[in-house]
């Protein structure tokens, strides 16, 4: 299987100017990821699991290292790529699923879910049909499809969020606790969708509070707990 991502000696910390201090998040993390592989990030709270995901997504600025992503346009280092390149990759090849929905006022749930498809060139009609299919799969009641998710409960918002994030198959998918606050049915739909994407070749890196749900998908685990030697962290097979 082809390599999707090569993370080399990735180091991240936060400088807080008003406190005048530096907070290390993780140091010298290295691993490779192939197409269709599912990697679980493990470690106690504050070990930097979410931080690692965000650093890979470039929401956080890394201190040093390299993250080579093999995009359909060629290999590129995500840490030093131009902002426009990152924007393009986020639109086309790298997905990020968080527990928080970034809802916009006056945009209906179905339009929000259909948006990535429309941006990718799908017709409005087809995108909307697909969006409704996924809203239904995640168990969002039909009455809510045309409502504005800003007013939804946390659980419903999360379902809309997932439908939106997973509607378009990506080459690399970053999952930041997507199962938090989900009911059983939605969780099952999520796991089914992840399994399907994985089978289709999407490489995934995930942080899960309760990894049991996705246990059968996990290929490898990386433990970010500080103090562990690099070698121990890498490629721990479950």
């Amino acid at each position: 299987m082809t390599t999707v991502l090569e993370v080399q000696s990735l180091t991240k910390g936060f400088t807080m100017h008003h406190l005048g201090n530096h907070l290390a998040a993780f140091d010298q993390v290295s691993f490779n990821l192939k197409a269709g592989e599912f990697l679980l990030l493990k470690g106690q709270n504050g070990a930097g699991k979410s931080t690692l995901l965000r650093t890979l997504y470039r929401s956080y600025v890394a201190q040093s290292g390299k993250v080579i992503f093999h995009s359909q346009h060629g290999a590129i280092d995500l840490l030093s790529a131009a902002d426009v390149d990152i924007t393009m990759l986020r639109r086309e090849e790298i997905g990020f699923v968080t527990q928080f929905l970034v809802a916009r006022p006056r945009v209906s749930a179905e339009a929000l879910v259909a948006e990535p498809l429309r941006m990718a060139g799908e017709t409005a009609e087809a995108a909307m049909d697909e969006a409704r299919k996924w809203l239904s799969a995640f168990g969002v009641k039909e009455d809510l499809w045309r409502a504005y998710p800003t007013t939804f409960s946390g659980g419903e918002q999360q379902k809309v969020n997932l439908a939106r994030a997973l509607i378009l198959p990506q080459k690399l998918l970053l999952l930041d606790e997507p199962t938090a606050s989900l009911d059983v049915k939605a969780r099952a739909a999520l796991v089914a969708r992840l399994a399907q994407l994985k089978a289709d070749g999407t490489a995934m890196i995930g942080v899960f509070h309760h990894p049991d749900d996705v246990a059968h998908l996990i290929d490898r685990v990386i433990d970010l707990t500080p103090g562990l030697e690099n070698e121990e962290r890498e490629d721990v097979v479950v």
Binding site: H17, R58, V61, D77, S80, A81, A82, V84, R106
Partner: protein, 265 residues
């Protein structure tokens, strides 16, 4: 050892807007100091900074209203070539009328308050040379509708309209000719929060539907966060930090940006 950001490699399109080392002083005050920026087609660049940071001055220079002391500014358009700051008054006016739209914080700057709203939009088409009444009317109505302006108020003068509606007229005027570049100077400042959200939503929708390249200046981080792909943080005329919008908001690097982001409610 910080990581240096490279030039774009995947995106093949040339930047639409390129400003290099733009500087401007007013008397002893250096309003804008060596500001450089690139904006790619379809991209939204947000410029944040407190009052007096030079962000609005920079925007006015992009609208060719103000000439800098030094620096260059190019737009990747077939009809223009070279440094736009060197254009004469006539060429500037034609370029601005046809290719650059602007929405000001103060509608008085952008609108004739006692003319009809549709007339305000039509003026832009008139400057560009349209001389058919029916076409003017039709296009003005189209642009106003796209800006979600109520059709039954088409000919009401802006002076009789609410602030939010006035901004919609400005927006309609700005997009009437499908500009290559849309400049927004604090477009929602001073509006009620609910109206602000509606105007922002209209902007977002227009941006997605028409893929308009935008530069938006605001001291309101929420506005920038909603609209911008990329953010440039200015302070005392200089750019202190620039990066992807989510990166600037989630992991600001510069002390000033951290202060700015943490100050947000």
């Amino acid at each position: 050892m910080a990581i240096t950001i490279e030039a774009p490699r995947l995106v093949k399109a040339a930047p639409l807007l390129k400003a290099q080392n733009v500087s401007k002083t007013y008397g002893h005050v250096q309003a804008v100091k060596n500001v450089s920026s690139e904006v790619f087609p379809g991209e939204v660049l947000g410029i944040v900074g407190e009052s007096g940071s030079g962000k609005s001055t920079f925007l006015r220079m992009l609208n060719l209203e103000e000439t800098p002391d030094s620096g260059s500014y190019t737009l990747d358009l077939p009809e223009v070539d070279g440094n736009l700051f060197d254009l004469d008054r006539f060429a500037r006016r034609m370029l601005c009328a046809k290719r650059i739209g602007i929405v000001y914080q103060n509608p008085h700057l952008g609108l004739l308050m006692k003319h009809s709203s549709s007339g305000n939009v039509a003026e832009r088409l008139l400057v560009a040379g349209e001389r058919r009444f029916s076409v003017l009317r039709e296009k003005a109505q189209e642009a106003l509708e796209a800006s979600e302006f109520p059709v039954d108020r088409l000919d009401a003068p802006p002076i009789e309209l609410s602030g939010g509606m006035q901004q919609r007229v400005q927006l309609a005027k700005a997009i009437a000719l499908e500009p290559a570049l849309l400049l927004l100077d604090e477009p929602t400042t001073g509006l009620d929060v609910s109206v602000q959200a509606l105007v922002l939503d209209t902007l977002k929708r227009l941006q997605q539907e028409r893929k308009i390249t935008m530069v938006i200046v605001s001291h309101d981080l929420g506005v920038i966060r909603t609209l911008a792909d990329r953010v440039m943080v200015m302070r005392r005329g200089e750019v202190v930090e620039a990066g992807l919008a989510d990166q600037i908001f989630q992991d600001p690097q510069h002390a000033y940006t951290q202060q700015l982001v943490h100050a947000k409610l």
